[in-house]
């Protein structure tokens, strides 16, 4: 509907010179803003394929004059970056899967208006959005559960994000009621309807919420730092941070120096940054059309 009007309006409204100037300013400003978000990435990408010589000589470039993959070779061979990458991939897949299983199955009963106990449970969930135990009590409780130095300490505490769960619930509520009625007629029970009717229709919300959870796991640094102590279990973000801080003067723990031998050079830092960013940027275009919808649903309260 909105489209139609836009077309009409374009034909009808003649713009004054002042309006045109404002238009140009807006287009240019937006272009610059968009550029400022991608330039740092492009620079680091270019730098990671450049030689150390070029990096010291030129302040800024987007295309290296001499291409080199030495930085990647060093990152993979010496900095052990592949181990972090593998850990992060496994953790992200496992974590996202668990989160989705818990969130979907928890949201489904709550999406049924006839479900008894629904208000009670929803209040219980919403309260956790307002108040929580905080870092230290949670740490001690998870320690008592025996989760320290285990990936489960990164996965279990965040199995259901109330915010994501509510988005899923709203999506389920939008599914036609007729489906339920028809399935009950056919003798299906609630579990069958959930698995065979509701889930297959929920691909958009599954895609966007998986992205939210997945990005959370991939990007997590702080929890890994608190809970993990064995370097073999470290995800890529921890390794990336150690590498970045190695030769800058601002490193704060001895551990950072212990993990890898000599301080890596600039191109290696860039290569590691690229390696840690790539997976997200590869997945992003595929899920982009879903997540905007997901956030919109979340924004419309109710």
């Amino acid at each position: 509907m909105a489209r139609e009007h836009k077309v009409k309006e374009g034909a009808k409204v003649r713009k004054s010179t002042g309006d045109r100037i404002v238009d140009v300013i807006i287009y240019v400003a937006l272009g610059l803003i968009a550029l400022s978000t991608v330039l740092p990435f492009l620079y680091v990408l270019a730098g990671s394929f450049a030689t150390e010589k070029e990096l010291t000589e030129k302040a800024f470039f987007i295309i290296p004059s001499v291409w080199s993959i030495n930085a990647y070779r060093y990152a993979i061979e010496t900095a052990n970056i592949l181990r972090g990458l593998r850990n992060s991939v496994l953790l992200t897949i496992l974590g996202t899967f668990c989160c989705m299983a818990f969130s979907l199955s928890f949201a489904y009963p709550l999406s049924k208006s006839h479900f008894r106990g629904r208000n009670w449970i929803m209040n219980m969930v919403i309260f956790t959005m307002l108040f929580g135990g905080g870092m230290i009590p949670s740490y001690l409780v998870f320690q008592a559960y025996g989760l320290l130095d285990s990936w489960w300490a990164l996965i279990l505490p965040g199995l259901i994000s109330p915010f994501n769960m509510i988005i899923i619930k709203k999506f389920f509520q939008g599914l036609p009621v007729e489906l339920d009625e028809a399935s009950y007629m056919d003798g299906a029970n609630d579990l069958q309807i959930f698995a065979k009717v509701a889930l297959p229709l929920s691909k958009p919300v599954i895609a966007s919420i998986s992205l939210f959870y997945g990005v959370g796991f991939w990007n997590d640094y702080f929890n890994s730092m608190i809970y993990l102590s064995t370097p073999e279990k470290y995800p890529i973000q921890i390794q990336l941070r150690s590498i970045i801080l190695l030769s800058s003067k601002v490193s704060d723990t001895v551990l950072d120096y212990d993990m890898f031998g000599a301080p890596p050079d600039k191109a290696v830092k860039m290569a590691c940054t690229v390696i840690a960013t790539m997976p997200i940027l590869i997945v992003y275009p595929f899920v982009q059309k879903y997540f905007t919808k997901g956030v919109m649903v979340g924004a419309v309260k109710g």
Binding site: I33, F102, I136, L140, E181, F194, N219, Y221
Partner: protein
């Protein structure tokens, strides 16, 4: 919340609009009939108890002198002793200054940024251009703070960062160290926030704007309204509810500056401005083992946060907005 008219309890509206009121089953009968729904709910329910509510119960250690050997229950009670220690501590004022300083800067510069960007995007009639800009500005939201920190180091460090190489060339050998000065720390943090979240923040506002009837603009234009009047009288009122909602959430998290970002950007040289409640709780609690003391600090933060959200919500409602709850 939309269902203003309270439906008769248990009434089922069929797809054809017919309303039937079945004889209400007893809860037990209902639970047996829908046992699979309860089965589906159960894992999540257990999760909320074990990982959300039991840690809340763990807050009792804020009123105790926790010792790892005696455990949560065996440790002696100290009443509000930990809170007294926290408030009378010299660090408290520093933490409050730093936390509020960063939060207020965020409120002034970072909060309006997505609104302004949305208004700009709303003026763009060329759909292709709009989509390209949107796609690009969303990206930073999806990269980790470690990567943001890493990009910041690579762009701004004194030795070989792009910024300083250029600055040196212009100023004739001088450098400007943003990363290791306390005076620039708040600005650095808010700057990173703006770079990372502004684009993504536009989604909710653009969603609100997509619901605006284009006829309104047409009618106003026919009446001779210019661009600014359209923005002032149609666009802004359309997103007012969303702005208020986002403001409530912002105010509610005024003491939440986040751990990761600040933890990654701070160092010995800027620590004076970089110690906030969140980092302090971590350092005192997990690194120094002062569990009870930092639990009290954490509890203070959570309680204030909750009061702020609820108050902001009330105020918004008093001014005729729909609020959060």
């Amino acid at each position: 919340m939309a269902e203003k008219v309270k439906k008769q309890k248990g009434a089922i509206t069929l797809s054809n609009g017919q309303v039937i009121v079945p004889k209400r089953k007893s809860t037990w009968q209902y639970m047996v009939q829908h046992k699979w729904l309860y089965f589906l709910l159960l894992p999540g329910f257990i999760y909320f108890i074990m990982f959300r509510y039991i840690p809340m119960g763990g807050l009792v250690i804020a009123f105790k002198e926790y010792s790892p050997f005696k455990g949560i229950w065996g440790s002696p009670w100290v009443g509000f002793g930990q809170f007294q220690k926290f408030f009378s501590n010299n660090d408290f004022l520093k933490l409050l200054t730093n936390t509020l300083g960063i939060s207020l800067l965020q409120l002034v510069f970072y909060f309006p940024a997505p609104i302004i960007l949305s208004l700009f995007l709303n003026e763009v009639r060329h759909n292709g251009y709009k989509r390209v800009v949107q796609t690009l500005v969303y990206i930073p939201h999806f990269v980790s703070w470690v990567i943001v920190a890493s990009l910041t180091y690579q762009l701004f460090n004194v030795t070989d960062g792009v910024f300083n190489v250029i600055f040196r060339a212009i100023s004739g050998g001088q450098t400007f160290d943003i990363l290791q000065k306390s005076s620039t720390f708040w600005g650095l943090i808010v700057g990173q926030d703006i770079w990372r979240e502004t684009g993504y923040g536009t989604i909710v506002f653009l969603a609100a704007l997509s619901g605006v009837d284009q006829e309104l603009y047409e009618a106003a234009r026919v009446d001779g309204a210019g661009r600014w009047r359209l923005m002032w009288h149609i666009t802004l009122p359309a997103i007012r509810g969303t702005i208020v909602m986002m403001l409530i959430m912002r105010v509610g998290s005024i003491l939440n500056t986040g751990y990761e970002q600040i933890f990654l950007m701070r160092n010995d040289l800027n620590l004076a401005r970089a110690e906030v409640f969140d980092t302090y709780i971590y350092t005192k609690g997990i690194r120094s083992g002062m569990y009870s003391f930092s639990s009290a600090a954490g509890m203070f933060k959570s309680v204030v946060g909750m009061i702020m959200v609820l108050t902001a919500d009330r105020v918004a409602k008093a001014f005729g907005e729909s609020g959060l709850y």
